[in-house]
Amino acid sequence: MGRTLAEKVWEDHVVRSATGEPDLLYIDLHLIHEVTSPQAFDGLRLTGRKVRRPELTLATEDHNVPTLNIDRPIADPVSRLQVDTLRKNCAEFGVRIHSLGDIEQGIVHVVGPQLGITQPGMTIVCGDSHTSTHGAFGALAFGIGTSEVEHVLATQTLPLTKPKMMAVNIEGKLKPGVTSKDIILAVIAQISTGGGQGYILEYRGSAIRELSMEARMTICNMSIEAGARAGLIAPDEITFEYIKGRPHAPKGADWDAALAYWNTLKSDADAKFDKEIYLNADELSPFVTWGTNPGQGVPLNQAVPTPESFGDEQERRAAESALVYMDLKAGTPMKEIKIDTVFLGSCTNGRIEDLRSAAAIIKGKKVASNTRMLVVPGSARVRLQAESEGLDKVFLEFGAEWRSAGCSMCLGMNPDQLKPGERSASTSNRNFEGRQGKGGRTHLVSPLVAAATAIKGTLASPADL
């Protein structure tokens, strides 16, 4: 019987398999950052263990770093200690690190692909749930906890039970103004935040094949918001073209060997999925969330739903409490919701294409008087690229803030936070209560909707301008 893409990658990495036990998988790349690694390094020291393969490990500083005044010491002493701890651990264990101020610093899931170190058919892990981003290259990539970080540091392997396989089929053609962010928000609204639990998602179909690598990364990034630890897309010419020539891409004969292998990485025609879902790309329109989990979303041209419209009692109760937290009335058109802060950035939508598409909408306009806009490039290189194209000036003239790279307001761990009661339209991935700051209210949107919203001051798409 045929095998799925994920099964092929899985089987190519099995070090040990025994009945009744998890498979032991080899890990090709381990990405680390300051927040989920200190306790893992402590564990190594306590047991006298080393990092087994420093040359398969890469660290960057992203979650906790400021996006202003990065040439000065980090003001918050607790944050500074955490970042210093990562630097010391990397020095002690011989791990490559890209620190604040380094040209390769940035959000870990933006840095890997831009270095060309994220490649098809790899197993990639990181102590961060959005590691699923790298699945866009046909890699099996997923987030792990700190105990697992320590396990990978010490052994370069992980014991794992093979998940089930789900095909997410998206056929058709996206209308102008509809992006891959709208696809994934619609998928999550369809299957709910628990729908992908226990599965690896494979996104396929004509709409997916049309997408750029950066757009594919946005989709795979939010697999975890559908409950799936990993989501991937079969690599193709668009993938190979993206990788070719990047610093860590294979060269010469290695490129040919790699390409021969990468071309085998697709689900066989007779591969069996445990579950299949379907979405028609032609019917999609800009999608936004109204509630406090990423499954609570609707098309932008609809209204806040009534809790009674949910058949399931748990969902009804969740909707009721979400409306209270979000301070929204059922029946309010989404486009009437006023927005205080627009956040453009994160590992979901902080890449150069995202900045370009937003800049094209706002160019020559002014930010709404009731709204502020924060633009945080996903990496130092994205920031430099944007500046070389003059995008920084477009954002600054619009009235937006132009910041240095990091996770920033996606999770509000650094000073970039919403104030209590403040409402954001955010290109990030989670609209949980308090995610962007205690008492803050988040609507997840695409970069295009973010840009149009910043102009109007209410949730809007470019078509509404």
Binding site: V15, R16, G20, P22, Y26, L29, T36, P38, Q39, D42, R49, P54, E55, T57, H63, D76, V78, S79, L81, Q82, T85, R96, G116, I117, Q119, M122, D128, G143, I144, G145, S147, E148, H151, A154, T155, Q156, T157, P159, T193, G194, I224, G227, R229, P247, H248, A249, D254, A257, A258, N293, E315, R317, S321, G412, M413, R430, F432, G434, R435, K438
Partner: protein, 199 residues
Amino acid sequence: MEKFISHTGTGVPLRRSNVDTDQIIPAVYLKRVTRSGFEDGLFAAWRSDPDFVLNKSEYHGGTILVAGVDFGTGSSREHAVWALQNYGFKVVISSRFADIFRGNSLKGGLLTVILPQEEVEALWNAIERDPKTSISVNLESRTVSYNGKSVGFDLDDYTRWRLMEGLDDIGLTLRHTDLVEGFESKRAKFKPKTLPVLS
């Protein structure tokens, strides 16, 4: 890791679904570089509400958290497990857990027990009727027992064995270092390395 065979304690009913890791412990509490001291951040946003279940005196000392469906969704932060453990919880019961949270909990010795939603509701009702209700969670027999009633739960044999023996996963894997070396000797040459740094 401490062995887990069985635990008897009182319960705390958390009648909420989709309790994500940002609710369990907000990001601003993740800055510590140790594994302890995270109890202050547990459910931090809700703790300021005097009516929040953890603030009610009748549930003080509870060690078994009984939560709604989809507990632990969101981030991979193991700090969520540590915060629950640092606060004193030994067991969390729900009808469904997020994958990464579940993996983290079972690595760290916090037992996550999956019961059907109607059993979760029954347990909520029993605890709310009498907060002193004694609940026993037995890994040997894979049962949750209270008020003379016993409900079975599933947990794969391997994880159960590892928890009951208190075994460290890394130690188990290091027994197979020869297999890891064998795998490494056959890895494709084109696979990328992070060192030396290339530009």
